[in-house]
Symmetry: C2
Subunit: 276 residues, 2 copies
């Protein structure tokens, strides 16, 4: 199949709506924002041999590529609107692989109200995918990493230390509940130690962690420094009740920006860092 035919096929299976006026098949997608909304923009890449093994099923790769970017939209308290996908695949991978990849991606897209609005296809030695997601949030209500204040309680959703290849369920419903309530929020993609350090650094505060909810059987190190949990880590003033399914793990305190204390010891900002 050549690119023209493949694009035609994708166009037929991709959705419509969500502000997307013109989608696949033009130089640009055209998106009409609603009044009084801010947009959230995120780009994330997924590389064969780096972020996933060559043996991973194409539909799982597709789903995962979108899920990772959606997790960041959740962390900002937003609703996903549309996505654009740049995909490079080896010539040895048949069109079937590409269509299965988009099949997996589009199932999650449909479930979360994300329209596939455009993309770019190329051949390369191995699979390399970049997903860009546009989300929306009420004007001025986007959650960021900056905003945690000393005295805020620190919470996490779910349990930490999940197997890295487990299905990612972006915490979009939780993120929406937190918008306008949480003082700061980040998604746990690189591990609690590193991501909490980032949140504290942006907020110019320190944090004290007492205990974390862990997946049964994993080591404390895995729960603190393993990546790919895709849960939300957030802070709230003590007077607010946290949503169900979240656990308080500590408190925001004054101190050197970015310092994290765990059981009386400094927790080093180690985790999944591609550039360490």
């Amino acid at each position: 199949m050549n690119e023209l035919l493949l694009v035609d096929r994708l166009r037929r299976i991709s959705g419509k709506g969500g502000g997307v006026i013109r989608g696949i098949g033009d130089d640009c997608a055209v998106f009409r924002p609603k009044a009084a909304e801010d947009l959230l923009l995120k780009i994330d890449q997924l590389i064969e041999g780096v972020h996933f093994p060559a043996s991973m099923l194409p539909e799982v790769v597709g789903e995962r590529a979108l899920a990772r970017a959606l997790s960041d939209i959740a962390a900002a308290g937003g609703d996903p609107r549309c996505c654009l996908v740049a995909l490079a695949v080896p010539r040895t991978k048949a069109d079937r692989w590409i269509l299965l990849f988009f099949g997996g991606l589009l199932r999650l897209a449909e479930r979360t109200g994300t329209v596939l609005a455009g993309g770019d296809l190329a051949h390369d030695d191995k699979v390399h995918c970049s997903v860009m997601v546009v989300g929306a949030v009420k004007r001025g209500k986007a959650l960021t990493r900056a905003g945690a204040r000393p005295g805020d309680h620190l919470y996490v959703s779910g349990r930490l230390g999940k197997p890295w290849d487990q299905r990612i369920e972006p915490r979009l419903a939780l993120g929406r509940k937190l918008a306008g309530k949480a003082t700061a929020c980040i998604d746990l993609s690189d591990g609690l130690a590193l991501d909490l350090h980032r949140l504290c650094k942006e907020s110019r505060v320190a944090a004290q962690v007492e205990s974390v909810p862990m997946v049964q059987g994993v080591s404390l190190e895995r729960a603190l420094q393993g990546g790919e949990d895709y849960e939300l880590l957030f802070t709230m003033p003590p007077r607010l009740k946290p949503p169900a399914g979240t656990t308080r793990i500590g408190t925001i305190v004054r101190g050197n920006a970015g310092t994290v204390w765990f059981e009386g010891q400094k927790l080093e900002p180690r985790g999944y860092d591609h550039f360490a």
Copy 2:
């Protein structure tokens, strides 16, 4: 340098404004659209060994990666607002390479009013870059490939058949002039034969091409089927005067959607097609 330091550095050298409320350093960038504007979204990838040779200077790669996506914003008649960049580089490339890449990209970004709003860094065997650009255009005024009508005159900017490694100058000023005037527009990234076919197919019309302005010394085949020209190809009703620097090359006619005639012969939709 680790990722935290590199991101800090990029944050300091990246611009502000253009609707970007929160840029590099958070889970998502936050962008505030202006009232009565539609947004243009484009993702484009640039791969070492596929789109450029390993020997290309990092600042040229960076500039080129952004220029290609900006060319699509130009074709839609828009103003670029911000961009997000996913970059994978080999471990052998020092941080210096990354900073030079962003140096080249940011020079073009500044010149065109494009704010670097976010990104994602990873290591891979070779350089792989995806650039996502957000542009803006007056509501309902985005140029698309669909809209050319029989009788419209067909124009192209510049001359065709440029060396593929020549600097790309996205035709943003021309695109802005065409918004609301041209009936259809596309940028010439894959060659006149293929891109005109695409425009005609989307507009459900055919085209007759009489002659094309060529770079001195190149073959007709190169001018018609060579890619990487990044000029604008557009259609206008005969009563409108085309902007300076453009040449009329033919006429839109009734016929099978997508058919292109050149000197009485059918021009096959051949050009740069990664999936051919």
